[in-house]
Symmetry: C2
Subunit: 270 residues, 2 copies
């Protein structure tokens, strides 16, 4: 990692164009800006690209896709999944490597759009939000390149900002993405239901569970979630499960019931 | 917090007897040992009480319930829920305050067993495991006392080890306990399913999601889980939901389907 580790073929800091101005585009641009030359930002919403550019050292705004510079080393398309190939089609004549940042769009789709082997994927396995700093050096970056040279250049670029770079093909990346969605979205939803229950039934909210939830996650990661599993369903205590069900609203009870049955099924199947 | 803040009526460090030697008993005994005199430990399994006593400064083992010292200031019953009142019945003639540490056992049950107003509850809202250190100063301790004087003494004792002491009656405590079980057990189970999926479908395990999961929890706590909710169901993207379902094993698919329907129902009802 660090500035000295990566130069482009001319011996200069690599030049980067960012396409998009959402959370992924912003966090990647800010991280890359320290170690590379982020030279241009394009966004469908010009005020957003302007806002991002104002946080960068050397970048300017591309006011439309025709004005994108053709001489960058990397073009990072960080937009919603269904807009990736549209933008790729505007980058057929660039000299650099074109990547998207999506967990679930295949590399082949981008390759067809750009019509070139200078294509790949640069997928940070993290959730980014406006205004929240993330230590990107710890974020796994999953890369894929259409050929060996492209892959090598992407590995070098990713290593500039992260300690954890993995080469992962489109099929594997989409499975990792599914696991990430599963582990992230549904735990957040469980907390949403717990927060709602607390607000409706006590004077507290999720905050009072903060040390418990942090310890629960630390245990799951250190011990494995199978060894860390606790609770009435884990113990096979169906009396407490029934008691809890009678105290929950219908929607939370539905979730509690299904997950308890699934835990019972896993740990107490005869 | 701290040693100087709390003395018993005779101006001495309060004397504590611990009944139990499991995870809650062990963590509480170790935390209290610094600021009070933990004088005795009893356990149904003598080798366990011996092991705990060996980690304490001044405690000795009580080899049976008849040999428990009668002159302690506090008796902390930290055993499984269904054993609390049995042990309470052996503490009818002690002079100190008798508490249990359970989230779901009512104070009234213990009061009947001990047959005294010197009864209460001392419930740490945390999950404890063998060999894992927990910063107990940040752990909420929910206390309840049969009368004002008992409550005052318990508040003073809890404040010796934690910055977060709450006076909470049995009904409210059992609701907080339910929220804790819900938020803790089911998120761990979601991680278990994600870990299983990763192991079966990739060369990775839950570890690769570690930065993502930590950020997801931090976001839920700082922004509220409702504002932090993301994912295909949150966006109403039923095409991706269906695609994910077709790639999961039946048990994980059942969980994915129900939780996605619940999220859709919450965020996209008409």
């Amino acid at each position: 990692m660090g500035e000295s580790t990566y130069r482009n073929v001319e011996g200069n800091r690599p030049r980067i164009v960012i396409l998009g101005s959402g959370n992924v585009a912003t966090h990647l641009a800010l991280a890359l800006d320290k170690f590379t030359d982020v030279i241009q930002v394009w966004s469908r919403t010009p005020s957003n690209s302007q806002a991002l550019v104002s946080q960068l050292l050397r970048a300017s705004v591309a006011d439309n896709l025709e004005n994108i510079r053709r001489d960058a080393d990397f073009y990072i398309i960080a937009v919603s999944d269904d807009a990736v190939t549209d933008i790729g089609r505007h980058l057929r004549d660039v000299s650099g490597v074109v990547v998207h940042t999506s967990g679930s769009v295949g590399m082949g789709d981008l390759k067809m759009a750009v019509n070139s082997d200078r294509c790949g994927v640069f997928y940070p396995l993290q959730t980014f939000s406006k205004g929240r700093q993330v230590d990107i050096t710890k974020v796994p970056i999953l890369i894929e390149g259409c050929n060996e040279n492209t892959e090598k250049r992407l590995r070098e670029l990713a290593s500039v900002i992260s300690e954890k770079v993995f080469i992962v093909d489109s099929g594997l990346r989409s499975r990792l993405h599914l696991a990430a969605v599963f582990a992230n979205n549904f735990t957040n939803y469980i907390w949403l239901l717990a927060d709602k229950y607390l607000k409706e039934n006590t004077d507290y909210n999720l905050e009072i569970l903060s040390p418990l939830l942090q310890e629960t996650l630390a245990k799951a990661l250190e011990m494995s979630p199978e060894a860390a599993q606790t609770g009435p369903a884990r113990r096979g205590d169906t009396v407490i499960v029934a008691k809890h069900l009678s105290n929950l609203d219908p929607e939370s009870a539905k979730v509690y019931k299904l997950l308890s049955e699934s835990i019972l099924n896993k740990f107490h199947k005869n």
